[in-house]
Amino acid sequence: MKIRFMAQVILAGLLVAGAAQAQTVTVMGSTALGPIVKKAAEDYMKAHPGVQIAVSGGGSMTGLNQVTSGGCHIGISDVFATPDQDKAGVKNHNIVVQPFTLIAHPGVGVKSLSAQQAEQIFTGKIGNWQEVGGQNRKIVRVIRPESSGTRAVQKKTILHDQEFAKDVLIQDSTGAVVTAVATTPGAVSFVELEHLEKNKNRIAGIAYNGVTCSNETVKSGKYPVFSFGHAYTNPAKLGDPKVKQAVEDFLAYILSPAFQQNVIKAGYLPVDYVKSLKTKL
């Protein structure tokens, strides 16, 4: 009895010591990318018992701030690093593709917008759905706050870097955007494709240049509005070569074909769907 107990204690001690020796990789940042990176971490830890990967949230900019200062090993982000952070030496890895779609209140009477129409609606040149073949109803532009990643994507792809109209409604999160569009007649907005699919009964998708956003149209290169989910590292701050190795290995796992298959279920697309497209987003 006593011997068995002692054996247990020793075993437990060994386990604790083993865990202490394990490489711990910390990941922080985007809450949108969090679930898919967490899934990758779980799978990876199963295959590599010596590595611990801790994923926490905080937001894209928190992830970027932390990885720049060395507060975490990997910063996940929906947006690009700032020029200052680039200067500090952070390195970008595109890990998933995020398709975006235009949405509207179901009663606007428009199913598709040309690129020029979409641009002019959000810059304020077009103010009524009638001007684009819909109902006689004022267009209500619902957008995200200035610091949002979605807004940055929208500004670049839909507005071609022009300023948004001054007459806008701003909502803090994609969920609030969807609610606002669903309850406001004449509303138009821009969200990740998965949010349209989850709310098809409340909001309507709008095709861009005649192409409906879907996994297939993005893959075939017909649908041009998407962005990348980013994982940033700061090689100068990784220090311990073992940690460095684990970080590189984990990122390679996320990008492996075996794992990239999983991202579709989470509302993203594998990076190699759009490799040939050479976009800057």
């Binding site: 894209s60 200052d84 300023e163």
Partner: protein, 346 residues
């Protein structure tokens, strides 16, 4: 109302300590003194130390927050270490209505005006409603109703603000837009002020009920004995007599309103460009137009942008300056409440 016990009357004259008069006379004058054991004295001393540490912690925390906000906020204007952004001038921040951080323009006037506007409107609705409800509960309602109303008000104070926000977003906004605005969006000052007013009315009601209940019954009876009607007694006698405490109630409501972020954020529309929009508008009734123009306040902008801006950037620093401004505004309000509260005893 039961008579206040004797000791609390002494308390008022002895700086808040419930001490019996005899204890203050010089020792050895025939006053019974208590012998404490060493252990009791030791426990006393440690307890004293514990209380001291707790209160110092609280003071330190408040000071720490102020220091943190001040260093980060003032970094917007001073070239401090660790500051990657440029130093702005006070006038281009506080006197400009042009907010476009991505284009390096940082005028926060729309947020200051937005905060003051929405809070002022909310008070215009909530203060009369709250004070009159207070009169009703304290002076008119039957006992069962008084008890019920008091409990309901206490419950309402405890409802989280986000619940009011969801209610506003999913019920009030669509209702107002359908009923009065021909389906145009209703986001803006009007609905935000309404939601805020509903939020702060319970606070004002509770405090003004207390104010009216604490008035001596002789005031009301005297006024009526001199032939005044019910309304005259309330309007000419009770409300003026309770005025300092009613002001305190209103200022506390104001404090809650100006600091509220979540509920307002969900219904106001969060548009930093609202002042520019108003200037360009050719509307014949600009004030009415402004009530239903999506606008923004200090708190809503902080909630939306702070988590997504890089630490040490000009943008981030200006947001902290806005936080500092809110902190100072609230401080001023609390000091004002103190001053008003003291006025009532004079």
């Amino acid at each position: 109302m039961p008579e206040a016990p004797e000791v609390s009357i002494a308390a008022a004259s002895e700086g808040g300590y419930p001490v019996l008069k005899e204890d203050l006379s010089p020792a050895g004058a025939g006053v019974p003194t208590f012998k404490h054991s060493r252990l009791q004295r030791l426990a006393d001393r440690w307890a004293h130390l514990g209380f001291l540490i707790c209160s110092l912690l609280v003071v330190g925390l408040i000071g720490g927050i102020l220091y943190f906000l001040a260093t980060r906020g003032l970094a917007a204007f001073l070239p401090l270490a660790g500051n990657t952004g440029r130093a702005l001038s006070f006038s281009e921040v506080f006197l400009s209505a042009d907010w476009a951080p991505s284009s390096d323009r940082f005028g926060i006037l729309p947020f200051i005006a937005g905060s003051l506007g929405v809070t002022g409107l909310a008070l215009l609705i909530a203060a009369p409603a709250g004070i009159l409800t207070g009169v009703f509960i304290a002076k008119m309602a039957p006992a069962w109703m008084r008890n019920l109303m008091r409990q309901v008000m206490d419950l309402l104070v405890g409802i989280p603000s986000v619940v009011y926000g969801i209610f506003g977003l999913t019920v009030v906004l669509p209702l107002v837009s359908r009923t009065w605005l021909a389906d145009a969006p209703a986001s803006g000052f009007a609905v935000s002020a309404l939601i805020l007013a509903v939020m702060i009315v319970p606070t004002i009601v509770s405090l003004s009920t207390d104010a009216f209940e604490s008035l001596p019954a002789a005031l009301d009876e005297g006024a009526q004995a001199l032939g005044s009607s019910r309304w005259q007694a309330i309007w000419r006698v009770l409300i003026p007599a309770a005025r300092p405490r009613l002001l305190t109630a209103t200022v506390l409501g104001l404090g809650r309103a100006i600091g509220e972020a979540m509920a307002v954020q969900m219904v106001i529309g969060n548009n930093p460009q609202w002042m520019a929009l108003m200037r360009e508008s050719t509307d014949r009734a600009p004030f009415l137009r402004a009530l239903f123009t999506p606008a923004a306040t200090l708190t809503t902008e902080l909630v939306q942008e702070l988590p997504n801006t890089a630490a040490g950037s000009t943008w981030n620093n200006v947001l902290f300056a806005m936080g500092l401004l809110l902190y100072l505004l609230t401080m001023v309000l609390i000091l004002a409440t103190r001053r008003l509260g003291r006025g009532k005893e004079a």
